[in-house]
Subunit: 459 residues, 2 copies
């Protein structure tokens, strides 16, 4: 601890300071996240049931609500060393430009080829699949960050990787598709004719351009119908937040190294993987009564699950083949406006994040996409990193909080998660550059209609 | 010095270990690189003549053959801290996969939004332009790495940035164009109707898709015909290699920190900016007789200026508005096959690199593009970074040298420059993934014809 030591632009941990165990925030939660339910019986999913879909060791992690620290296998630690520790950046240039007394830090997860934090869980899930002797894994991807991350992990471990990519993204983001192919993955536009659920959806909605929920259904079916395959998922699940805790652990270690205590911690929230990972150790401090922080989840106004959703059991996918999860949800049929370009499109939210929000540990706010892209462009010009639209939700609120500090004169310490880069999102940036971007906020009527699709579950 | 200290996966210098001065290898060269000549009089360009095109302080750097260390202004040091020091990576995974006793390191310059080392000189050139009170700068860009880097630097300094982008790239790489626009640059496809030389080329070659040499001519004209503008260039020039010496200085400092002495240093060579920057301090050691290394320049077989070019004065641009430079050249009309996808397309080579090669300090080799993309894909899967095609030329030869070590049992230390990432090169990767990539090597006859365009200069 060296409170008055000058802070470098980028704080890198030494390799021997990197986390050797993931932190499982559930262990410190008094109100545990609600269990996954069997969609048929509405009974909690057993390990045995889950093991048909997921790797055995990942099922244990999914169900473990009590072990606070779970060791990171050495092989995964080694892989992490290829692209981690990620820097905790002091945004000196942004502070100066904003003329704010606030101290702004961001944890930058974009310095790897997948372009985001997704790789942290991809390598873990691929590792356990390999360890179990499987041939390969299946998954879905929307914009492609998760699919790319999984392709990289599988290439490293010589594991087959089958990606169902939402058709509209497959067509509009051929470069993401090619990155996955370069890493040896097979990429199928979803819905496809390769699964029953895909054929069914195509029959019912000819010409559909697909959705994440639909691609999930296809990937799950592909996993359970092929010998030696399991399904993996890049967000929402407890196991994913566990792996992503590496973000928060590194952040906390870097701050501690310089005796810095954050006042506000900000993360963008789609399914909750980055947010949950970033805040886990800080939320743990709060749950144990050891510290207090303001934690803010930022979501798109066009897909506002925390701020306008219902806290209820819901389907995780369109085909309704997955377990039910209790979460803040907009209804499994909800699809954000086609004009929404900012990512974070999932209809629900991680059960852990949902419970923490429900218990008042986390605040949530939503922002409109033109404001998000304004912040993204501003940040790019000042801090030199072109951010992912997803990450820019957090940037927007960090800038707003820093401006408030300018007005009040408070020297708050703000930490936010910069989850990734926007190099594959230039179609969205082009729209913004050309002044063709609008804001698309669902009406109350639309949401009410969407909520009618929620399953009736007695708790 | 700690020869037996365990080497981390990534060696990061501390911020206070970063270079505070650039190293000017010309100071240690007995045979200085030949001066630029006035294309009309064939007399060495004076500072006054050059100042019509370039910023005054950059002209001094261009002409300074004697000062070994030139201080890096504090503002540039601060900008460097946003994305530097870049990591020197120990390629443990690659070594293991290749089963080689060689120790492989690469200096990775791709972790910034421009995606390459180009930013190192862009910020320097923009800084001196700003300091001189200019309104803006003009430049050309091919694939777009340099244009992106310059846009970033100009956005940071509030300087206008006008980029002439080779038309075929402008159309085929809309995303690069949008990154530049996001950073506030204006991007014009070249040849264009905005300059005399552009109109002339369009009249002579209607429907042409442009070339780098042509875009240079337009950018120079735009600079000298607008009040308060100067022209900047991303490679070839002495000043660029000076700024890029930060790569080599950091590399050497990182190696020294762990008591590592490289045996082989490998860099890809287009105009020579990365290669020259990486090798400068090592070449300095050799020139002063203090050490010996094997230095290998790697160029594409389809654009082989060092290995098959002539060492002669030549035009730097198509419109012949620039000074003449003595260099290894294929002739200023030489354009690599349209099927060449690996970058490094410039017809000539930095005068410094040319002189060092001519004096036998550097070796050169050329590689075919299918071999380059094979190496790129292999590297991506093993080391987790999708490399730029340009950088992959160095990867190819580093792998080949490591395989030789496996055969001989030698534990050589190999260092290569990984100049950037391939995120904007997915069209080329797609071609490779689909098995549609070929090799395109100019015939002796083609080269002989191209050499006939060399100017007659008495030396």
């Amino acid at each position: 601890m060296a409170a008055n030591k000058e802070i470098p632009y980028k704080i890198y941990l030494e390799e021997n300071e990197m986390p050797k165990a993931w932190y499982n925030v559930r262990a410190d939660m008094k109100n545990k996240p609600a269990p996954l339910l069997n969609p048929g019986t509405h009974q909690p999913m057993t390990a045995q049931e889950l093991e048909g879909v997921f790797c055995a060791e990942l099922v244990q992690q999914e169900l473990d609500n009590t072990t606070a620290y779970i060791p990171i296998p050495q092989e995964i630690q080694n892989f992490y060393k290829m692209y981690r520790p990620s820097p905790l950046v002091r945004a000196y240039c942004l502070e100066e430009k904003l003329k704010t007394p606030a101290k702004i830090y961001y944890k930058f997860e974009g310095n790897n080829t997948s372009g985001s934090h997704k790789l942290n869980s991809a390598i873990a899930q691929a590792y356990y699949a390999k360890k179990q002797g499987l041939k390969g894994v299946t998954t879905e991807t929307g914009a492609g960050q998760w699919g790319t991350a999984l392709s990289m992990a599988c290439a490293y471990l010589d594991l087959d990787c089958q990606v169902y990519m939402v058709k509209v993204s497959y067509e509009q983001k051929p470069f993401r598709r090619e990155v996955m192919r370069t890493y040896g993955a097979s990429v199928t536009p979803s819905p496809s004719n390769t699964t029953n659920v895909g054929r069914q959806i195509l029959a019912e909605h000819p010409g559909t351009t697909g959705s994440l929920g639909c691609a999930i259904s296809e990937a799950v079916e592909a996993a359970v119908t092929q010998e030696g395959y399991r399904y993996v998922l890049g967000s929402v699940l407890n196991q994913v937040l566990l792996h992503q805790s590496v973000i928060g652990l590194e952040t906390k270690a870097a701050l501690d190294k310089y005796g810095i205590k954050p006042d506000i911690i900000i993360g963008c929230a789609g399914g909750g993987s980055n947010l949950g990972g970033l805040i886990s150790p800080f939320a743990g401090d709060m749950l144990r009564g050891e510290a207090n922080y303001r934690i803010i989840a930022v979501e798109p106004a066009s897909c506002p699950s925390l701020t306008r959703g219902k806290y209820a059991y819901d389907f995780c996918d369109t085909g309704k083949v997955c377990p039910l999860a209790k979460m803040y949800t907009l209804g499994s049929n909800f699809i954000p406006s086609a004009n929404h370009a900012g990512g974070l499109r999932y209809h629900g939210m991680s059960s852990i994040v949902s419970q923490l929000y429900h218990d008042g540990l986390i605040e949530a706010t939503s922002v409109e996409q033109t404001k998000v892209f304004e912040a993204a462009e501003y940040f790019a010009r000042v801090e030199g990193i072109l951010p992912a639209p997803e990450s820019s939700h957090a940037i927007r609120v960090a800038i707003d909080e820093a401006i408030k500090c300018r007005e009040t004169g408070e020297e708050k310490t703000i930490v936010f998660g910069l989850t990734g880069t926007g190099y594959f999102d230039m179609v969205a940036y082009e729209k913004f550059n050309n002044g063709e971007m609008g804001d698309y906020i669902p009406t109350d009527e639309e949401l009410e209609k969407s909520f009618t699709t929620l399953p009736q579950v007695e708790e």
